[in-house]
Symmetry: C2
Subunit: 112 residues, 2 copies
DNA sequence: AAGCGTTATGTATATACGTATATATCGCAA
DNA sequence: TTGCGATATATACGTATATACATAACGCTT
C-alpha cells in the first residue's frame, strides 16, 4: 500500500527551527507542565528536548517556553502565548497541506 | 530570515520509496543516459544511486529505469515511460503544495 | 583476443547522531 | 538545614549512515 507523505517546517537562516517535533514537544509541555515528563512521554531524551527549547527561544523574537528550576515542585515548564500562537499557525498550515495531498490521487494511481 | 519549507514523498509499506532525491536522479539519468554520470553530477555516490534504482524498480509495478551493461558504449541507463509519468505527477504535486505554502504568510508573521 | 566504458558488488573506514549515564544546580517547604 | 523534584550540562558509547576504495562482470568494437 503506497501513501503520500508530507512534512513542513520553518527554517531560520538555513537552520531547522520549528517542525512537527518541536510542535509535539510544546503540546506535551502544555499538558505536563514539565520538560522532562514531556520528553519522556514522546520518547525523546531530556537532553534533546532541552536543547530544542534553547534553539526555539533563541531564534524566536520572544521565548516560546519558560523553564523554571527549583521551588516547591522542583521547577517546571510552560508554553508562552507566543508558543501557543505558533502551535496554532503551524497546525493550520499542516491542515491546509494535508487537504491538497488528500485531493491528489493521480500519483498513487500511476504507482498502483 | 525565516522560511517555510515543505517536502513530500511516497512510502510503500512504511518504507521511503519516491521523493525529491529519486526524482532528481531520474531527471539526471534522462539527461546523461548513464547512471554513473547522473550520480556524479548530483553529488551522489554511484553505489547509493544504484541501490536507489533497485528499490524503485522493485516497488513499482513496472521498472522506472532500465540499466544496460556492456556493449559499444559500455552500457547505459534510461528512464522508462512509467518513470517519466511518475516524475510528471510528482512535480505536479510539489507545485500544488508550494502554492499553498506561498499563500501562507501568517506563520512567518508570528515568528517575524 | 584485447580494450573500452559502464554496470555490479563487497569491504573497510569515517562521520553523525541518538542514547545512556553521571553529576551539578536551583529554590521552596518542612 | 535538609530533602525533594525538576532543570542544567558534560562525557562516553553504540548504532546507523555515508563515503571511499577496490575489483569483477559485461558485451560490443576493432
Amino acid at each position: 500500500m503506497k501513501k503520500i507523505k508530507v512534512k513542513c517546517w520553518v527554517e531560520d537562516e538555513g537552520e531547522k527551527f520549528y517542525g512537527p517535533g518541536p510542535n509535539e514537544l510544546l503540546k506535551r509541555i502544555q499538558e505536563e507542565g514539565s520538560l522532562s515528563r514531556a520528553a519522556t512521554k514522546m520518547g525523546m531524551s531530556y537532553k534533546k528536548a532541552w536543547e530544542l527549547v534553547q534553539r526555539l527561544n533563541q531564534h524566536a523574537e520572544e521565548p516560546l517556553v519558560i523553564l523554571k528550576k527549583g521551588g516547591q515542585h522542583g521547577g517546571g515548564a510552560e508554553v508562552t502565548p507566543q508558543g501557543f500562537e505558533i502551535m496554532r499557525e503551524f497546525e493550520n498550515l499542516q491542515r491546509k497541506i494535508d487537504e491538497v495531498v488528500d485531493q491528489q490521487t493521480d500519483l498513487i494511481k500511476v504507482l498502483k
